[in-house]
Amino acid sequence: MKVPLSWLADYADLTLPVDDLAHRLSMAGAEVESIDRTGGDWGDTVCVGLVTALEPHPNADRLRLATVDYGGDAPQTVVCGAPNVALGQKIAFALEGAELIDAHAGGTRRLKKSKIRGVESAGMVCSERELGLSDEHEGILVLDDALTVGAPIADILGDTILDIAPTPNRSDHFSVLGIAREVAALTAQTVREPALDYLQDGPPIAETTAAQANLVEIADPDLCPRYVATIIRGIQVRPSPDWLQTRLIAAGQRPINNVVDVTNFVMLEMGQPLHAFDYDRLAEGRIIVRRPRPGERITLLDGSDQKLAPNHLLIADANTGVALAGVMGGAHSEVTPQTTNVLLEAANFTGANTRRTAAALKQRTEASLRFEKGLNPELAAQASARAMRLLLQTGGGTADTGIVDAYPGKQPRARVQLTAQRLAQIAGVDLPTETVRSILSGLGFPTQWKPPSTFIAEVPPWRTDIAIPDDLVEEVLRVYGYDNLPSRSLSGAMPEPTIDPRLRLRETARDALAALGCAEVITYSATTAAAQNALCALGTSRVWAIPLLNPMSSQHDHMRTSLRPGVLASYAANARSRSRLDGPLQLFEAGKVFLPLGAAPLDAAAAPSDETESEAAAGLTDGGGLPLERLELVLAIGGAPAPSPHDPAEPPPLDLFHIKALLDSLATTLRLPFEYAAPQPQAPQANQPSDPALLPGVCAIVSVVQGAGKKARRTPVGVVGQLDPVVAQRFDIDGPLFLAELDIDALAKLEPQPISSSTLSRYPAVTEDLAIVVAADVPAAHIAAILTRNALIERADLFDTYTGPQVAAGKKSLAYAIAYRAPDRTLTDADVLKLRGSIIKQLQRELQATIREG
């Protein structure tokens, strides 16, 4: 809302410097976003001049030479082409160097000395357009005779415009008068209300037409609480007078003609949108406020043809729609230069419906923006009178006597009671009764004090936002000044903190991975269905993602069901800007995935390639509820350690056992021991890899093991492996990438291993190496499990694996360093011999293992 200070000053005395005024308004809730000064560029270069001589130009008939006294050392003689320049005029005189509007080139231009038809001219007598005041350029701007020669024009014609961003609750702040009321309240001034009386010397306004129908009929009073109609006859439609045009331009509106300009002026002045109809174009001269008929359309003033819905509201004549209520007038009954009789509409339309209509038709106008905030119907009659006064003043004609006032939604004036106790409860301090009353009265709330403790405030019609006592508390405090209230610390009981193991685990995992040399990324929560499908080396994704109705871009049109696309894209982007000197790339994200509840999985085999079609074909629904928001963690590593001057050999690239090392460190931190197992082929599709993004042979299911021996419980918590090169290529990733994915929700449900200290054995350990030969496909974990389940084996560390001529074909040899130790005695050679025998027997029985001697 642009509020020119010159206009504002019509209703309230401006007693503060503009910056202070803007600050007070902002602090009280009417935020001044900027202060713009017109004429600010002029400085001292444009000033009041007096035309002291006028001669014909020697070489041009239409030009003249004007000698201007501008208060300088000597008068200047300049070339002037304006027909209206005359001897003795006070004019706006621009000196060399002045910044003026250049209407031909656009923007501003610095005035330079130049020769016009052989006569040198340094200054210029200005038109309104050159000064940026209006589009007027037929003649020069003639100033008031009383002005002093040499005075800067900026002081006379310059204006300051406050650009105010009203909050949506303050419909009154969408008007200059509303801001003036605010200014008056903040500076203890009184508002000068605009004059509303006008001469009504025409015949009485006919309440009914010749056909005995009402002039105004509200068929749908639920959407139109009031409709005031007035009529003016014999008006002249013509350009508005200067003062009106200047006001509109300063407020950012383009002048059109006096009738349209007056309706716009009153809307800006009082906040009530108005509409003027060419009365003679209304069929039967009637106004009917009704919902559209099925299939009804209307052509609006902007030329657009709108198809109407049953919940929109039309202003119609006897036949057809003539305006879209509260939004825009229709083309058919538009006021034109030929119009002589005008019906002026000052109506009230409900906010919600106006808003919905304007949004649906994409026609959010100055009028609809005001109606949707909620206007008081009382305002309609005042605005009607104000506009009639200005129409008569600017266009002549005769006003019918009286008004037609259809007012089905009349409400009694609201009163709100506020107790001193409530005020103190919210304010935290006691404010003097007189202070409270004077603040409320100043804001236009006639307020009574009812002892012992109640303020009774009458709500002024322009304040549609005040309904409860706390609304009055805000009124008092915002004028009193929030900054004048004290500050206090919280005291009293503190709440019991919520323990959320998921969040705790997420943060612990983040810290652990960062400490292990991994970089945390946070990627967008929305991705594409294509990225989702790109994760499957074969076929399409079996997970259904929630589509967004109005995504920000096609790159983010589905909620992610996996963190992988985001992390892989980050990996690829960062890999491009790295060199081998930067070392390995290790990224992770811990965040939410959004899994629709009750979604039917997409049948990969039957799915056509087009995602949307397949959803429809499968009759998919996500159940319509909120999705499961699961916390997951994805870690991606690749590349090689940076070369070092201390190690001559180029370090080998990272492999699966690097990422396992990171996971094991994480597991140690979480006290949730991880176990890795190759995925079991799933019947019936025997070759289906368990994770569609990972290489089937370099992939492990990660489980947490709790308990030991037969009671051990294994909970799958994720997967680790090498990204399938097919998938890597789709994400633009070169070289092997190892990826781990963990379900934080599943991890958080598990009880971390308790820490319990045991006494260290005082007896020595016996150590020996044992090379165990097994079939090549026996997992090392099976051997380790047998070795470590013996209580007297303190540790068994694998230090070598071997396949080759020394062992039979199809076999491998795994060498373990085994430490035997008892808690209560020194083990003898005989003890160790017996233990070894028992282990070997177990290995033979369970894994068909043999021991490699030597």
Partner: protein
């Protein structure tokens, strides 16, 4: 018996020690002078053969000499070891300590994580609970129950990314309450309602979380953002508590003595409403919205609004991070360029 000449013994011993060139020679020397059958041991054993009057002086002198020779031996042995080490590995004794370290990957947390945690920490110190909530929300929680019904102009304050389409209007009941729709939450404020559904006063909670806006991206705007919501409800909570709590937060997070001010602002779920600005250099920056919890929200939670009052606030994590670390473009956060992220190594 003649008195032993301690000075002569010492001078012999020191001469021989200096001459001992290797470990076996040093060992021989130790045996000769300090061993069980060595010169000094024999001397001390023979003290009883000396005249009574000379015993203390000689005994004391011999013991001193023994300690001195032991010390000399230790020193000589260390010298020898150093000499041997130098002889064996000359490079190891003069390392260029300015050579770079062996490469070791350095990790770091994302600046949003760091900032969110630092903000959370301040509120925990002030006794606040910390919870999180769903990012896909019902419009009822995101709007209606926060006093922003459908077709309310305040909905313009939050441009929304929707999941469900608007249900077609029932011609029979055009203004009837429509079916709830899912959306990406535009703010963390719906958690005010959810937290109130599960908790009784005293309530003192902050809710960090990701929010989404249908908003074109530029240096100051992102469509995905992180907010921290705050809610305090108890008996005797007044506007000065709102001021004191938020001023304290700003001072602890951005620096003590930072100038703050509160102006009136509008959010449908608070009354009175406020906005906090801070003075940053020569500018006032709007940092967060706040206000006293609207009595209808308190009443809807089943609490007596005349007994319980409270305040709520909401702030952007990225905005505070930008201020604290001098980040100029909000788009940096979710582009995840390591060259940007690595600037936050070690920050907490």
């Amino acid at each position: 018996m003649a008195l032993p000449d301690l000075a002569a013994i010492e001078s012999d011993a020191r001469r021989d020690l200096a001459a001992a060139a290797d470990a076996p020679a040093l060992d021989d020397w130790r045996t000769r002078y300090l061993g069980r059958k060595g010169i000094l041991t024999a001397l001390l054993r023979g003290l009883s053969d000396l005249p009574q009057a000379d015993r203390p002086a000689i005994g004391q002198g011999a013991n001193q000499l023994k300690r001195a020779l032991e010390a000399a031996l230790t020193e000589r042995q260390q010298e020898r070891r150093r000499a041997e080490t130098e002889a064996q590995a000359p490079a190891a004794t003069s390392i260029d300590v300015t050579l770079p370290a062996r490469p070791h990957p350095q990790g770091q947390l994302h600046p949003v994580t760091l900032t969110r945690r630092a903000m959370e920490r301040v509120f925990r110190e002030m006794g606040f609970d910390v919870v999180e909530g769903p990012e896909v929300e019902w419009d009822t929680y995101n709007f209606d129950r926060l006093r922003v019904p459908r077709d309310h102009p305040a909905r313009d304050m939050w441009d929304t990314i929707w999941i469900d389409p608007e249900s077609p209007e029932d011609p029979a009941a055009p203004l009837a309450q429509p079916a709830p729709r899912r959306l990406l939450r535009t703010h963390t404020s719906p958690m005010q309602i959810r937290y109130l559904e599960a908790h009784q006063p005293p309530i003192r909670v902050v809710v960090p979380g990701t929010c989404y806006r249908y908003e074109a991206t530029d240096a100051a705007h992102e469509w995905m953002l992180t907010q921290i919501e705050g809610l305090v409800i108890d008996e005797n909570i007044s506007f000065p508590h709102l001021k004191g709590t938020l001023e304290s937060f700003v001072h602890r997070f951005l620096g003590p003595g930072l100038e703050t001010r509160f102006r009136c602002d509008y959010f449908p779920f608070v009354e009175p409403g406020a906005e906090l600005s801070i003075r940053w250099g020569d500018r006032w920056l709007e940092m967060l919205g706040a206000g006293m919890v609207h009595p209808e929200i308190i009443e809807a939670a089943g609490l007596d609004p005349e007994r319980y009052t409270g305040f709520a606030f909401g702030m952007g994590v990225e905005r505070f991070a930008m201020l604290r670390y001098g980040i100029e473009d909000i788009r940096n956060f979710y582009q995840n360029d390591l060259r940007f992220l690595q600037q936050f190594r070690g920050v907490s």
